[in-house]
């Protein structure tokens, strides 16, 4: 189970979401630009503190503003692939990859190196990588830490279609092998459809839809929710 | 060897005298006030040579120097200096004022430095102070005074005779009569709690002796009046 109930205001924007879903599989997260997807990730990972709320994953309470529980990010075991990579600029690609590695996982490094085609980049510094190369390393780095839950913020947007396909396969394989649950932000309905068992659609800080496949393409002004809290709200 | 805390103005002469003695001595030079305060804070000095009786008295008051061990070692005189080639000076108010027109007169600050106080007293009793006062620039010490004159920043300066001796770029234009100011005495005394009192005493004996006096004289110092 992943239970989540959050309220957070940033300027004129307010994120106000609540859901309770099985903790397994891949959860897709969609929504127009600025609808609060990255903010939701920050709260989950512990980089931002909501004004009010509760997050529990598999029975462990990560955050409860009322009971003043707030697990440190390093303790949450939540991996995150950032929208802009955030590779450590002072480390080689190899050291970036192994930074969060658990002891005794050399196979994983070899496998990821191969699938993400990182071999020729291993000793380079992030500054000399192309946009797509950087993003591949960021994905590899997060996977190497074998997180309990992996958050991916548009991880494929800088990749070419061929690599995109490969990384999608890799994510599926990692998921099959380790069972690591993932939450996946993307603007591409076909990616979401391919990966996710459940899809949450956000709109202006609120949940507009939770269903088994992407909501119908949101219009220019975003989705108008159907009014009234849907039954799946916590 | 013993450690001497000595007024900076004696450095050149004292170093030469110690070399003459052949003894193993370390000297720490500084402004009299600065080294007196250091002794007050426990600096490991064996001898204190002060250019300023006030600071010696301060240490006597604190019990760091026994009053009956203080003795005058050297004395000094005052001179007026000018940039080389400036020519002799008539010691009259008119002549001084003329030379200082649009120019500066440098002397160590008479509110803080002993040499300034002696100089102020001398110029006042000679009736010259009024003539120099409008042009007066107080410097930090005699070193700065000499530098200012040597560099032509100032037309006249007042320093100890020992400061002006053999310095390039300046010449003595007037020897100030010793009667015009209080005697300039360099006092010396052993410091309480000295670690090497015997050697310090031996050095002091040498400094009093003729061999050392000759050396001091070579640097413009005179034996203190009343010294044995």
């Amino acid at each position: 189970m992943i239970e989540l109930k959050l309220e957070k205001s940033q300027g004129a924007f307010t994120l106000d979401v609540a859901f309770s879903l099985p903790f397994s599989g891949i959860l897709g997260l969609m929504g127009p630009s600025g609808s609060g997807k990255s903010t939701l990730f920050s709260c989950l990972a512990g980089h931002a503190v909501p004004d009010e709320g509760r997050i529990a994953v598999r029975g462990t309470t990560l955050l409860d503003t009322r009971r003043r529980v707030n697990l440190r990010p390093a303790r949450r075991g939540i991996g995150i692939v950032f929208q802009d990579g955030l590779l450590f600029p002072h480390m080689s690609v190899r050291r970036n990859l192994t930074y969060g590695a658990r002891a005794g996982a050399p196979d994983l490094l070899a496998e990821l190196t191969e699938v993400l085609e990182l071999a020729p980049l291993m000793e380079r510094r992030p500054a000399s990588l192309s946009g797509g190369e950087r993003q591949r390393v960021a994905i590899g780095r997060a996977l190497m830490a074998e997180p309990r839950l992996l958050l991916l913020d548009e991880p494929l947007s800088a990749l070419d279609p061929a690599r995109r396909e490969e990384v999608l396969c890799l994510l599926e394989r990692v998921h099959d092998r380790t069972g690591t649950p993932m939450i996946y932000i993307s603007h591409a309905p076909e990616e979401i459809r391919r990966l996710a068992q459940t899809v949450i659609t956000l709109d202006r800080g609120r949940i507009a839809d939770i269903s088994a496949s992407p909501a119908p393409r949101f219009g220019p002004r975003g989705l108008q929710p159907a009014g009234g809290r849907p039954r799946w709200a916590v | 060897g013993p450690l001497i805390f000595a007024a900076a103005s004696t450095a050149r002469a004292l170093d030469a005298a110690i070399a003459e003695s052949g003894m193993d001595v370390t000297v720490s030079y500084g402004a009299s006030g600065a080294i007196a305060r250091q002794i007050e804070q426990g600096a490991p000095a064996d001898l204190f040579l002060s250019a300023n009786p006030k600071w010696m008295a301060h240490l006597v008051d604190l019990g760091l120097v026994a009053a009956d061990t203080v003795e005058p070692l050297l004395s000094n005189t005052l001179v007026l200096i000018a940039p080389s080639g400036a020519g002799a000076l008539m010691p009259t108010a008119v002549a001084m004022a003329a030379r200082l027109e649009d120019e500066q007169f440098v002397m160590a600050d008479f509110t803080t430095a002993p040499v300034g106080r002696y100089g102020h007293a001398a110029l006042t009793s000679l009736g010259l102070w009024e003539a120099v006062a409008p042009s007066y620039v107080p410097t930090r010490n005699t070193i700065a005074t000499v530098a200012a004159v040597a560099r032509g920043e100032a037309a006249l300066g007042l320093v100890y005779a020992s400061d002006a001796l053999g310095v390039e770029g300046v010449e003595v234009v007037y020897d100030i009569p010793p009667e015009s100011h209080p005697a300039i005495l360099y006092l010396v005394a052993p410091v309480a709690g000295a670690t090497e009192p015997e050697q310090a005493a031996a050095l002091l004996a040498f400094l009093r002796a003729d061999a050392a006096r000759t050396v001091f004289a070579g640097f413009g110092f005179r034996p203190a009046e009343g010294a044995p």
Partner: protein, 233 residues
Amino acid sequence: MTPPLGLSVMEWQALTLSLRSATLAVLWSLPLAIGLGWLLARRRFPGHWLLNAVVHLPLVLPPVVIGYLLLVLLGREGVIGAPLHALFGVRLAFSTQAVVIACAVVSFPLLVRAIRQSAESMDHRFEAAARSLGAGELRVFLTVTLPLMSPGILTGLTLGFARAVGEFGATITLAANIPGKTQTLPLALFSVTQSPGGDAAAARLCALSLALAGMALIGSELVSRRMTWEAAR
């Protein structure tokens, strides 16, 4: 044994003492400076402005005053000096350690400021990324924060070292001008300028000071060029 480079014994002693004291001064104060620089940059707390002011104190007061205050603190009867002397028989004032202390105190604000500046300009989302990879606070600090601050640390060390090499007022007040024991290059320079005609010796001592600091400057440039990731970011 005659000193190398045709220096006099006094000059050689002053040179080695200056090198040793300036190096020890910046290295000893480095951990505290890193801690304070980071704290001032990244945390807001009630006494922030006061701490900041205290750190800058040695910059604002004339070195002679700092030396005097240190003497009052560390001297035989000082708040810190008295117990030290009573308990361990240690006497700090007028010792070689006093030189290191004087140098450390005057260069401290420069170290802290440079480090603070780099802590302020770094993107702290890198630390968030490290945490999300499971690194504890100490590991994050050592492997991410510290390396990303290293250009600032290097600048601080360079500035601090140069300032320590030039330090005069606090040293002569706290440690006195004792040849072979507390006489650093600036103090030796002072001594030779105290008598007329010491210009050649003074020029040589100036040159030694500059050579010492110059080597540190060039060294730090070389090190900083190897931090290529910074420029290429």
